[in-house]
Symmetry: C2
Subunit: 323 residues, 2 copies
């Protein structure tokens, strides 16, 4: 294998007996060395497991989405859970794919007479819910948000081109210090958001999209981010681009059927996916973040000395459990 | 068509007779209204026209790459022109595709005995050429770079997460003010760069990659950016992801054959692609850039008040000429 190929992904360099000093660590090295106590389990109930129709070779196509926990986007994620429990997406499709933008799915006919009826009880979520209040701890000035159970979720912060940003319980968010103190989840590659009509509509969560290109940060605060694809993004990012208006598939035969969407806890126990994320308040994460901003190893010779939040994706890993 | 679908791409709103005030313009509106004098023609000699093998439906797959002009990356683009004139890529392939990273092509066997011989006369480009000296105009403090013909290319500047950034003759670049004043081209979605071995190797330009995910800005200054895909990126971004090490196709049957790569001026005149870019020193571009940073229209209600350089791609258009 040509070293040029390996080098471009900055895989950890092979250990060499002749080296007097240890190799400079890469972000991947830090993640691999993180102790078990730095990882947090993701509740299968926070996962949407989407099965697309098999590909042309008959191979299954599973996309797993982690829903963002309250207090962020809670009205929409509540609707999404209701839609999933109602099996509402079964028989719908991926109907729109735009290069360097999004893949979008759902019924797609929502303003037509034959639109698929939504289950009862969905919330109409106000635009004000794009923002979540940020609290400040009196003793140490730390910023945090409160979950419905009144748990504090502390936010670390630094500045990128768009806002002060940080991580809350493993989720990338941005903060606005001016006037009302509020935070919101940011769009990165793989983020999942709620397609909507024009303001004041905010969407129910029935029509969703995943980002398959450069992070569209201008959408932050304008549309609800409800989660991220944690496995199977390639089943969306490789889809043919739509040639119809706004990238909709003009040929209905191109639509990718969705066989089912289930919350992880509705699957039989042996089939539930198990994932963990690297805790954003852990020492390992702090080292990982520093290296993402300051790559300096066999491949990277000129550290950037900065990073935008989407270039520091929270490390995730899948746990394969025995039966 | 559901308004929700249209809204997500913020297409220009339809004119309404009832509106008392003009609709707020979108970036697309500004580009559409730009006068002819704000557009600059791209010399076909600055284009690499790559024909991949047709797809499974027999449709052609053409990828057009604009090479960055001197003084940026001139050693590598000189090599690339030599390789193109030697028809070196004919019969090579796209052999590596990594989600949210790159699609890479060339011979791919460059450290093996049966590696495809390179043409003579290619330069070995030093690492120092990742950077280009920045001059400052004595009268007005403007920053510029000098082309080989001693033409000034002025740079406008603002700050993003990584560096002071700006545009030079329609190309996104970053600047370093500290110590030696230098600039370099930045990686964005669609950027084309030179795959290399470990430092001090910088690659010849024979193995190239295109960015098919979030802008990998940590690569800036560590690898040569030589151009951008201006048409046909979907032929790369939709390719299956490689399952071999570093995303290389472990099954040779997956490699996408490259039928030919030609500089635009080697094609018969009637076949030469004609493109224009919106001049980055034009008033239209300034308005476009402002709106990319401050989207405020029917769809976007909360302007970001900031933008990273990769979210302000230089507008390009293809000119179809009669025979």
């Amino acid at each position: 294998m040509s070293a040029a190929l390996l080098a471009l992904t900055a895989l950890p360099p092979a250990a060499s007996a002749q080296e007097a000093a240890p190799a400079k660590p890469t972000p991947a090295d830090v993640v691999a060395a993180a102790p078990a106590t730095d990882w947090r389990a993701i509740d299968p109930a926070d996962l949407l497991v989407m099965e697309l129709a098999p590909d042309t070779a008959g191979q299954p196509r599973r996309v797993i989405i982690q829903l963002i926990p309250p207090p962020f986007s809670a009205g929409w994620t509540g609707n999404i859970r209701a839609l999933a429990r109602a099996h509402w997406w079964d028989g719908t499709s991926v109907y729109r794919v735009v290069d360097n933008w999004v893949a979008q799915w759902g019924d797609g006919e929502d303003d037509k007479p034959d639109a698929k009826p939504l289950p009862g009880g969905l919330l109409v979520v106000p635009e004000s819910d794009y923002l979540t209040p940020i609290e400040t701890g009196p003793e140490d000035g730390r910023d945090f948000v409160l979950t419905p159970e009144k748990q504090e979720v502390v936010i670390n912060r630094w500045i990128d081109s768009y806002a002060i940003t940080g991580f809350a319980a493993g989720w990338p968010i941005a903060l606005d210090d001016s006037g009302g103190r509020s935070g919101w989840p940011v769009h990165c590659y793989g983020s999942v958001g709620v397609a909507r009509d024009l303001s004041p509509d905010t969407g129910t969560g029935a029509e969703l999209y995943a980002v398959i290109g450069h992070a569209p940060r201008a959408l932050d605060r304008n549309i609800a981010v409800v989660g991220r694809v944690i496995a199977g993004i390639e089943h969306l990012s490789t889809l043919p681009r739509g040639r119809g208006e706004a990238g909709v598939y003009d040929d209905a035969a191109l639509r990718v059927p969705i066989r089912s969407v289930r919350l992880g806890d509705e699957l039989p126990p042996a089939e539930r996916p198990h994932f963990e994320y690297l805790a954003s308040d852990s020492a390992s994460f702090a080292r990982y973040l520093h290296l993402r901003a300051n790559r300096d190893d066999d491949f990277y010779r000129a550290p950037a000395k900065g990073v935008d939040i989407c270039n520091a994706p929270v490390p995730l890993r899948q746990i394969v459990k025995g039966n």
